[in-house]
C-alpha cells in the first residue's frame, strides 16, 4: 500500500536526493568558512556576553 503511494507521485525519488545535496553542500561550505575564519574576530565574538557586562555587575559575581 505504502509503495503505491510512493510510486503514484511522479518523480518523488528526487526529493530525498535534493534535500541531501542541499544540506551536504551547505554544511561543507559552512565548515570551511568556520575553519578559515579570522581568529581574532571569533575570539571577540565569543566574548560579547562578558564584554557587555559593564553595567550589570550586581549580585554575586565576585563570589562565583
Amino acid at each position: 500500500m505504502y509503495k503505491n503511494v510512493l510510486e503514484s507521485i511522479a518523480g518523488i525519488e528526487i526529493y530525498p536526493i535534493i534535500s541531501f545535496l542541499i544540506f551536504f553542500i551547505f554544511f561543507i561550505g559552512l565548515t570551511l568558512y568556520v575553519i578559515f575564519s579570522d581568529k581574532n574576530h571569533i575570539a571577540a565574538m565569543g566574548k560579547l556576553p562578558l564584554k557587555n557586562d559593564d553595567a550589570t555587575n550586581y549580585g554575586g559575581e565576585a563570589e562565583l
Binding site: M1, I9, V34, M45, A55
Partner: protein, 728 residues
Amino acid sequence: MSPQTITNPHQPLHQTEQASGLDTFYYDNKTVRNFAYASLVWGVIGMLVGVIAAFQMARPEFNMGQYATFGRIRPLHTNAVIFAFVGNGIFMGVYYSLQRLCKTRMFSDVLSKIHFWGWQLIILSAVATLPLGYTTSKEYAELEWPIDIAITVIWVVFGWNMFGTIIKRRERHLYVGIWFYISTLITIAVLHIFNSFEVPVSFLKSYSAYAGVQDALVQWWYGHNAVAFFLTTPYLGMMYYYLPKAANRPVYSYRLSIIHFWSLIFIYIWAGPHHLLYNAVPDWAQSLGVVFSIMLLAPSWGGMINGLLTLRGAWDKVREEPVLKFMVVAITSYGMATFEGPMLSLKNVNGIAHFTDWIVAHVHVGALGWNGFLTFAIIYWTIPRIFQTKLYSKKLANTHFWIGTIGILFYAIPLYWAGFTQGLMWKQFNNDGMLQYSNFLETVLQIVPMYYMRGVGGLLYLFGVFVMIYNIVKTVKSGSLLANEKAQAAPLLPAEKDDAHSGHWHRWIERRPVQMAVWATVAILIGGIIEIIPTFLIDSNVPTIASVKPYTSLELQGRDLYIREGCVNCHTQMVRPFRSETERYGEYSKAGEFVYDRPFLWGSKRTGPDLHREGGKYPHSWHYHHMLDPTSMSPGSIMPPYPWLFDQNIDIASTPAKIEALQALGTPYPAGYAQRANQDLDKQAREITAQLATEGIEVKPEKEIVALIAYLQRLGTDIKIKDETASK
C-alpha cells in the same frame, strides 16, 4: 559602577556624557522581573496539574468530574508547562540578554507591556477553555481558533519589539544567542500559522483544513518543531548567554556554535515524520524523518559539548555555585534527550517504544531537566542582580537542586521501565502463536506501580519549586528592583566605515539582523517545503477506497464528543502493520481510510487500547455500560467513568454549521444536506436506542452517549463492509 535607580529613563543626556562620546541609556528590568514571576506562577500551576494527571493514571478516582478528567487536563498540563512556564521563561531570558547583547533598551515599553499581558491573557484563555472541552485535539496546538489568532498577534508584537531592539543596537555584531532567538521567532510563526489552518464552525469550534494523512504530517511537522524551536533553540540561545556569564568565561568554541546553529535549524525541521513511523504515511517520508533524526545527533551533541566544555578549568565553581549545578544537569539532560531522540527514531526501537510511556519519560527528561533546570538557573542568577542584592540562601538553592534531581530520576526511571515492559508485552506471543497478553488491560495493570512512583517523582520536583519560590521571595524582600538600569555604550557608527577590511559573507550577515532572519527562514523553509509539498500531492494520490464514506451526522457529533472528552490522549486510532497489532486489533490502518478525518485522531499514546477497529467489536450495550462504569466491563480498568454523557443532550443546533464547514472543505455531503442532517441524526439515534432497548437498556435518543456509541461503532468498519461485499 554603583546601582542607580532612575525615575525617568528618557531624561536628556548629561553634558559630560555627551562629551565622552558615549550614549547613556537604561535597561528595562521590570519586564524581565514580570516574566520571571509569571514563569514561576504558571510553572507551579502547570506542574500541579501534571501531578494530578499522573495520579489519575494510577487511580481513576482522581478524575474529579466532567471538567477534570485526564483527557481534559492533560492538554492543560502540556500547554501550561510549554507555553506558560517555558514560554515566560524564554521571554525573561530574551528580554534580559537581548538588551545587554545589543547595548540598548528594548525597542518599546508599550510593546513590552502588550507582549507580557497579552501572553498571560492567552494562557488564561487556555486555562478556561481546555477543561471545558474546547480543543482542536492536535497535540500542543489544542487551543481553538480565536486563541490561535491572539497568539499570532502577540507573537508579532514580540517580533516587532525584538527586531526594533536589534535594529537600534549599539553593538555591531549579533552574538550567536541572538541568532537562536531570531530563528525561534521566525520558525514558530511559520509553524503556528500553517498548523492552525482551520475552518470555524462556531466561536470555539473549528475543523482542520487538512484531513487524515495530510493533517498528521502537518501536525507532526509542527509538533516536532515546536519542541525544536520553542523548547530548544531559545534555550540554546539562553545557554550561550547565561552559561558564559555564570562561569565568567567565554563559550568553549565560538566556531562550533556557528556550526551548531546552522546545522541545528537546518536539520531539525526535517525530522517530524519520525513521530509517524509505521503509521499510514508514505515510506519516503518516514525514511526522510529517520535519516534527518540520526543526523540531528551531531549538532545537538555539538551544542551540548560546547556547553559542558565551557566549564573546563572551572569545575571547582560548579561545586559551590548552585546556578552552575542547575546548568550542568540541564545541559546533560539535553544531551541525554537528544541522544535518545535519534535512537527512538530508528524503526526497530520505535516499534517497541512508540505509544508507550517510554516517550513520556523521554520528553520529561527534556522538560524537567533541560527546560526546567535551565529556567531555575537563570531565575536564581537574574533575580538577585535586578534586585541589587544577593540570593537569600545558597543552601536552599542547593536543597532545591538535589530534590529536583532526585525528582527527575524518580519520574523518568519508572516510566522507562513501564514503557519497555509494556512495549514488549504487547508483542509477546506464546508457543501456540497466540498473543501472550491478549487482554490489553493485563499490560496496563502490570505498570500501575510505576505510575505511582512517577507521581512521587513529580511531587518531589514540584516541592523543589516551592523551596525555590520561598528563596526568591526572601531574596526579593531583601532588595529593591532596579527597574531602569543605567548603562553606557558608544553609538554605532554607520556600517560603511568599517566595511573596508571585512568582506566575508558570514561576518556580513552577523551585522545584518534582517538578512540573518531571511536566511534562517530560507534554511527552515527548504526542509519544511520539501517535507510538506509532497503531502499535498498525496492528497490527490492517496488510494481512495470506494467504501470509505463521510461520517453520518450522528457519528460526526459523536466524533466531536470524542474530541471534547480528549479520548485521543489515551487511545490511538492507528493499527500498525505488525502481526502483534493485527492479531490484537484487526486489519492495519490504511491511509485511504482517513480522508474524511478532520482533524486526524491517530493519537500518540496508548494508555488504553487502539480503537481504530473498535466498530462492531462489541454490542451497543457493552459501550453503554463501559462509558458509565469502565470497571463493569473491564475489571481493574484505569479509565474514568463518563456519567455526564448520559445526562447531557447532543448539541443538534450545531449540526447544520458543522456539515456546511465540512462541505466547504470538500467533504462530499449532498447539496442542501445541512438542513436535513438532523433528521438523519434522529433516525440513526432511534435505531441505536431501539437496539439498546432489546438488550434491556432504556435511553433517550437525544443523549450524548448515543452519538458516541454511533461513532465508536463506525470506527474502522468502512473496509470491513468492502470485505463482506467482496466475499459475496
